[in-house]
């Protein structure tokens, strides 16, 4: 396999630390970004879902989450993103190769997305309010509880949202469209004040 190039954030140069917008005592929302060590999509074939779940459990040491949920352990996040489909986020590089060895292609398909997504963390008292202003889905904790995963979009920019807690979300955004999403987040956060860290 060819050597993987260094990871470069599409938001480098735009992500300027500081307080912006209507910050009085404390910002309503805080933004930060991170790049995954490894991000892999796993798709089972029809009829192999159970076998793929067993492989994921064995390799990751995590129980496989039910629909629209995520499980976390140490620096690994396993998210259920569709029927027979999961997204695995790991801080350590090499996850893709480990999964490829354990998961033969007759059980499912692996897609490496490490360089295709950037993760934007949105947290703070107004995080839900900010996201609700531009993403048409029900963010109420009853519909989207902590530990939940939802896929949606903001004006055609697809985004996978992992809710870590009541006021903390991680947005997995396409690197090629991350500029647009970030632009919106800065405008949406300005009204309540936002801090970039």
């Amino acid at each position: 396999m060819a050597e993987i190039p260094d990871r470069i954030s599409p938001l480098d140069g735009l992500f300027e630390p500081g307080d912006f917008g209507a910050v009085t005592n404390s910002p309503g929302v805080e933004y930060s970004q991170r790049l995954c060590g490894a991000l892999v999509q796993v798709q089972a074939w029809p009829g192999t879902t159970g076998k793929v779940e067993a492989v994921l459990k064995q390799v990751l040491g995590l129980p496989v989450p039910k629909a629209r949920l995520a499980h976390m352990k140490d620096e690994t996040i396993l998210m259920s993103t569709g029927p027979g489909r999961w997204l695995v986020d790991d801080e350590m590089e090499g996850l893709e190769e480990k999964l490829r060895k354990a998961l033969p292609s007759d059980l499912g398909a692996l897609t490496g997305l490490t360089h295709a997504r950037v993760v934007i963390s949105v947290s703070g008292e107004k995080a839900e309010w900010v996201l609700s202003s531009g993403i048409a889905m029900d963010f109420h904790v009853n519909a989207f509880p902590g530990g939940g995963v939802q896929l949606g979009h903001h004006h055609e920019i697809g985004v996978t949202i992992h809710r870590l807690g009541a006021n903390h979300f991680e947005l997995y955004a396409f690197t090629s469209l991350a500029h647009g999403l970030w632009h919106w987040l800065t405008h949406a956060g300005a009204e309540v004040g936002y801090r970039v860290t």
Binding site: W45, P46, G47, T49, A67, R68, T81, G82, P83, G84, R85, A136, M137, D138, N142, A143, Q150, L151, G152, H153, E156, G158
Partner: protein, 101 residues
């Protein structure tokens, strides 16, 4: 207009892509009639009223669904999963209804 995806729950229709008339049946590959193939590709009834149609949740879980919709009022009567994961998704629909999503 809101469509209840069998995996993701109720979502705005802009997350979905219209994939066409679900009542149109592709002619058999052995059928060499150009008229039959022409009818499958082009002829539509353009129903004013209840209509079965295919949608794909392109901005979500990418599941194909059959939506029964009133083309006049846009009221949606049902949304059922189709394809190889349909049975798995049907079980999820029951859970979504139980959760009130």
């Amino acid at each position: 207009m809101k469509i209840t995806c069998p995996y993701c729950g109720e979502r705005d229709h802009r997350e979905f892509t219209y994939r066409g008339d679900a009542t149109a049946i592709r002619p058999s590959i052995d059928n060499t009639s150009l008229d039959d193939h022409q009818a499958f590709v082009y002829d539509r009834k353009n129903t004013a009223g209840t209509h079965r149609e295919l949608w794909n949740h392109t901005s979500g879980c990418r599941t194909h669904v059959v939506v029964v919709r009133d083309t006049v009022s846009h009221e949606i009567f049902s949304c059922e999963p189709v394809g190889p994961f349909a049975k798995q998704l049907a079980r999820n629909v029951a859970k979504l209804k139980g959760a009130g999503a």
